[in-house]
Structures are given as structure tokens and as C-alpha cells.
């Protein structure tokens, strides 16, 4: 089965709302229940916000691609940019210090998804987020 959705935006934070709406509906249409879809929406929002803030350093006109598809018993979302790569995988994953204001994005992402991958290669950064969902009955 091929059925996937790719959302393309510029790195403007005002696009986050658009991303949440379309990614949420796409994950549901790919078989995620309400809870899994909401978790993915939260996680994707954080991942895309991180790209805007860190990979693109606040530039609002750089391209970001978000692709949603089914991968076995998971719904998978790929977030792709060509900005500055960070050492995302080795960032702290402890619950953030109570009154620190930042530093909660990666923690949230890891709490919300079942699988989390990050790769940088040839100037492009790719984060994969995967969440287990019920097995599809029939045509899905």
C-alpha cells in the first residue's frame, strides 16, 4: 500500500498551526487513533519548531518538509531540513529542571513517540518519529 502525505512549508512559526492540522488528519487517515495522532502532532510540532529555531536559526523563509506515512504497525513522520545540524541524539533526555524556561522540546518528543531517529547527511537533516498504531483492517 502506498499512501503518504507530504507537507511543505517555509520555516515561519506561523506555519506550525497548518502543520498540526494537516499532520493530525493525515495520521488519523493512516490509522492512528485519537491519542496516537495527538501525540504525533505534539511531537511533530516540537520537532518542526526546533528546526525553525536551531537548524535555521530563526530564518523564516527556509524549506521544511514533513512526510507522513505508514511503516508496518507504525505511523511514521519524517521531518527534513537543510539547515545547521545539531547533536540532537545526545542531548539530555532527563526531565528538564523545573524552572528552566527552555529545553523541553526533545524531552517531549521522546516521551511521546515509540521510535525517534536523527540523521544528518550531505547537508540535509532528517528526523524520523514513529508511533505504534492498531493494525489496519482491510483497505485502511
Amino acid at each position: 500500500m502506498v499512501a503518504e502525505v507530504e507537507v511543505r512549508i517555509e520555516s515561519d512559526p506561523r506555519r506550525l498551526r497548518f502543520v498540526r492540522a494537516v499532520v493530525g488528519r493525515s495520521c488519523r487517515a493512516l490509522g492512528a487513533g485519537d491519542e496516537a495522532a495527538e501525540a504525533l502532532v505534539l511531537a511533530v510540532n516540537e520537532a518542526v519548531a526546533n528546526v525553525m529555531r536551531h537548524a535555521y536559526g530563526g530564518d523564516v523563509d527556509q524549506p521544511i518538509r514533513i512526510r507522513c506515512r505508514r511503516a508496518g504497525d507504525m505511523v511514521e513522520v519524517l521531518i527534513c531540513d537543510h539547515g545547521k545540524s545539531g547533536d540532537v541524539l545526545s542531548e539530555r533526555i532527563d526531565p528538564p529542571d523545573e524552572l528552566r524556561s527552555g529545553g523541553r522540546g526533545l524531552f517531549l518528543i521522546r516521551s511521546l513517540v515509540d521510535e525517534f531517529e536523527f540523521r544528518s547527511k550531505d547537508g540535509s537533516n532528517r528526523m524520523h518519529l514513529r508511533k505504534r498504531v492498531p493494525v489496519l483492517a482491510g483497505g485502511g
Binding site: D12, L16, E98, G105
Partner: protein, 110 residues
């Protein structure tokens, strides 16, 4: 996002409507900081019942508001949290850091 401030005696209520995310949190921050600045010794309630969604930027903003309030001796309360935002505060283990009230009324009376 829409932000309105209403006053009840020495309590200022900031009513917020719309998603609070990286794009809209600065507006929330500015409104709440303004109210805190003008209200030494009083109470500021942020009514989030019109907010279906918050992300980590909004969480960071609320923490900054809490710190700003403490340093100005202003009591800082959250009211009317919807399920989604409550879940985000739980996940980030911050529910207990805030004084959270079910409704605006109970936050004002408290």
C-alpha cells in the same frame, strides 16, 4: 491568538483564546508581563479555557511568567486548562509548579 485583560479588584485576569505555540507565545508573554508589571502585591490569573493547544514554547512562556511574578511578589495562577494543555504540563512534570484552578472564578476567589 486573542488576549484580553479584565480587572476584578486586585486580581487581573488574562483571558487567552487560540493555540499557544512558538508563533503566538510572545504575544501571551507580553500581555502577562505587562499585567505583572502593573500589579505588585496583587494576583494575576491566566484563563486558558479558550486554548486548545500549547507547545513547549508556551510552557517556557508560562514558566517565565511565573518567575517574573514571583520576583515582583505577584501571585500567579492558571485557570481552565483544557485536556491537551494539561497533558503537556503533566508530561513536562510542571503541573505542580503552577497553582492550577479549574475555573476563572475559583482562581479569583482563592
Amino acid at each position: 491568538m486573542r488576549v484580553d485583560t479584565v480587572h476584578f479588584g486586585d486580581v487581573a485576569v488574562v483571558r487567552v483564546e487560540g493555540d499557544a505555540d512558538m508563533a503566538t507565545s510572545p504575544e501571551l508573554r507580553e500581555a502577562v508581563f505587562d499585567v505583572i508589571g502593573a500589579r505588585a502585591g496583587g494576583t494575576v490569573v491566566v484563563n486558558l479555557s479558550g486554548v486548545p493547544y500549547i507547545d513547549s514554547s508556551a510552557v517556557a512562556t508560562l514558566i517565565e511568567c511565573l518567575r517574573e511574578a514571583s520576583s515582583g511578589s505577584v501571585r500567579f495562577r492558571l485557570a481552565g486548562l483544557n485536556d491537551g494543555p494539561l497533558k503537556v504540563l503533566r508530561l513536562t512534570r510542571l503541573v505542580d509548579v503552577f497553582e492550577v484552578h479549574d475555573s476563572e472564578e475559583s482562581a479569583i476567589r482563592a
